[in-house]
């Protein structure tokens, strides 16, 4: 892995004439966790897709990329859907990237990574035989195998139950430390636990908020973390689009 670059996105995006987001200025510091928090439909995922060069049909007007050169080939992606291929076993899924690039897969390293995410002994299982938490661990192992300096996370924990989610947050924070991580989430608790930089995205634009003290992942019961979490929720609730729900 090369050094983790800083990312930037300055501009606006439209899709067939409809505005996806107005002028935003997003800066993602290298080598740390940045959480982009916002309600559904605000354009958070579009920002991730723009970084991953997967935003088909989106007209982006502005500048986007890494501060130290082109971003292509340095990004890994993990989404809410684990995207495991049902016809491959866990090992096949984890080594998918190598085969897709025409390289020889490295099963020894894959087994190592599986051990790291707590899936030792599961390499020959099919995804359909795994629980939701195990599937997301396999997706994390696949992401780690890619060994990219930039990791884009699109609500990867939102489909998990509370206990599994807390464990996955910790495991992901540990295993991805040192990389530039951009996490898109709608969960204030997740942003408060994992963000070294927390950005709230609403109709009015982006707002940079001071993160809680302490290294990530922060304990769920930490007083400062809970205070920031409450504050983030308050900001989301004051948002114009959410206002009718609170009155």
């Amino acid at each position: 892995m090369t050094t983790a670059p800083s990312l930037f996105l300055h501009g606006r995006a439209e899709m067939s004439g409809a505005t996806l987001f107005r002028d935003v200025a997003l800066d993602v510091p290298g080598g740390g966790w940045t959480c982009l928090l916002g309600p559904s439909g605000i354009g958070k995922s579009t920002i991730l897709k723009l970084f991953a060069d997967l935003a088909e049909g989106v007209d982006f007007d502005g500048r986007i990329g890494a501060t130290d050169g082109p971003l292509a080939g340095r990004v890994a992606l993990m989404a809410q859907d684990d995207l495991l291929l049902p016809w491959l076993d866990v090992l096949g899924n984890v080594t998918l990237g190598a085969r897709l690039r025409g390289d020889t897969p490295d099963p020894a390293r894959a087994l190592d990574v599986l051990d790291k995410v707590g899936l030792a002994g599961f390499e020959a299982r099919r995804p359909s035989e795994l629980s939701g938490g195990q599937r997301q661990r396999a997706a994390l192992a696949r992401t780690l195998m890619e060994d990219r300096p930039v990791v884009l996370l699109d609500e990867p924990f939102s489909a998990l139950d509370a206990r599994t989610r807390a464990r996955m947050q910790e495991l992901t924070a540990e295993t991805l430390s040192g990389r530039t991580v951009l996490l898109v989430t709608h969960d204030p608790a997740e942003a408060a636990r994992l963000g070294q930089k927390i950005i709230v995205m609403t109709e009015t634009g982006l707002r940079d908020l001071p993160p809680p003290a302490g290294p990530v992942p922060r304990p769920v019961g930490d007083a400062d973390t809970l205070r920031v979490q409450a504050n983030l929720l308050e900001i989301l609730r004051k948002d114009e689009r959410c206002a009718p729900l609170t009155s």
């Binding site: 991953a52 060069d53 997967l54 080939g73 990004v75 890994a76 992606l77 989404a79 859907d81 995207l83 291929l85 016809w87 998918l96 990237g97 085969r99 897709l100 690039r101 025409g102 890619e146």
Partner: protein, 244 residues
């Protein structure tokens, strides 16, 4: 097991219905033979029917294999290239407007009275269902899988091979199941137009000589073969899907 019992009960019911019609209408044997007579003919002419059956089975199996390969490759080719789609797809749709049966005489002219023209007929009749069901599945990949593969640095060809083709195999399997039913139709039409062997030829021959019982016997053998072929292709397809 209950499945086998249901099939048996259903077959028995069909035979009873048939026998009932024979009794009720009291038609002469050369118009409508009863199941008993047909079974007797089937047994007595078993060598003759077997000889002709083997020919038809060979035609169908070769046509099916060629159709699966050609249809599969065509679908992959069409799904890989938008130029191919623009050039070839209108032709494919147009070709479906031509009644396949009308082609039988010319196929006999081109490929002769033997195996070739019947294999060609079976191939032509199954080519479109195989191609189109596989092609449709290839064109509807999970976009997120493809996106993930692109982020991983995959070329379109590798995305096709590692993601789109395995994901589309259920579409190919349903096309092949259809093909298993259509292929015998093609072979029989081919035999009707010009042949000296095969179940279709035997049926025409028997019909012309008012040996309706022999015609029915040949028909039943053909129907049973088609049902078995359909079941066999279904099983093979399921195994393929498990092992992909």
């Amino acid at each position: 097991m209950s499945n086998a019992r249901t099939i048996l009960a259903s077959a028995l019911f069909g035979l009873l219905l048939w026998q009932g019609v024979v009794w009720a209408t009291d038609l002469p044997r050369f118009i409508l033979p009863g199941p008993g007579l047909v079974a007797q003919t089937l047994w007595e002419s078993r060598a003759l029917i077997a000889e002709h059956s083997l020919i038809t089975i060979a035609e169908v199996l070769i046509g099916l294999a060629l159709g699966a390969v050609l249809g599969g490759l065509s679908a992959i080719g069409l799904a890989s290239s938008s130029i191919a789609r623009q050039l070839v797809r209108p032709l494919l749709v147009f070709s479906q407007a031509i009644p396949v049966f009308a082609l039988a005489p010319i196929l006999t002219l081109w490929f002769g009275y033997g195996l070739g023209s019947k294999v060609a007929m079976a191939l032509i009749i199954i080519y479109f269902p195989v191609t189109s069901s596989f092609f449709d599945a290839l064109m509807r990949p999970n976009k997120d899988w493809v996106g993930l593969a692109r982020v991983m640095g995959a070329s379109p060809a590798r995305i096709m091979w590692h993601i789109r083709i395995p994901a589309a195999l259920p579409g190919l399997a349903s096309g092949l199941r259809l093909a298993a039913v259509y292929a015998p139709i093609g072979a029989i039409i081919g035999e009707w137009v010009g042949a000296s062997k095969g179940l279709g030829y035997l049926m025409l021959l028997a019909n012309g000589r008012a040996k309706t019982d022999l015609m029915f016997a040949a028909l039943i053998v053909l129907a049973i073969f088609t049902v078995l072929l359909h079941a066999g292709v279904g099983k093979a397809a399921n195994r393929l899907l498990e092992r992909r």
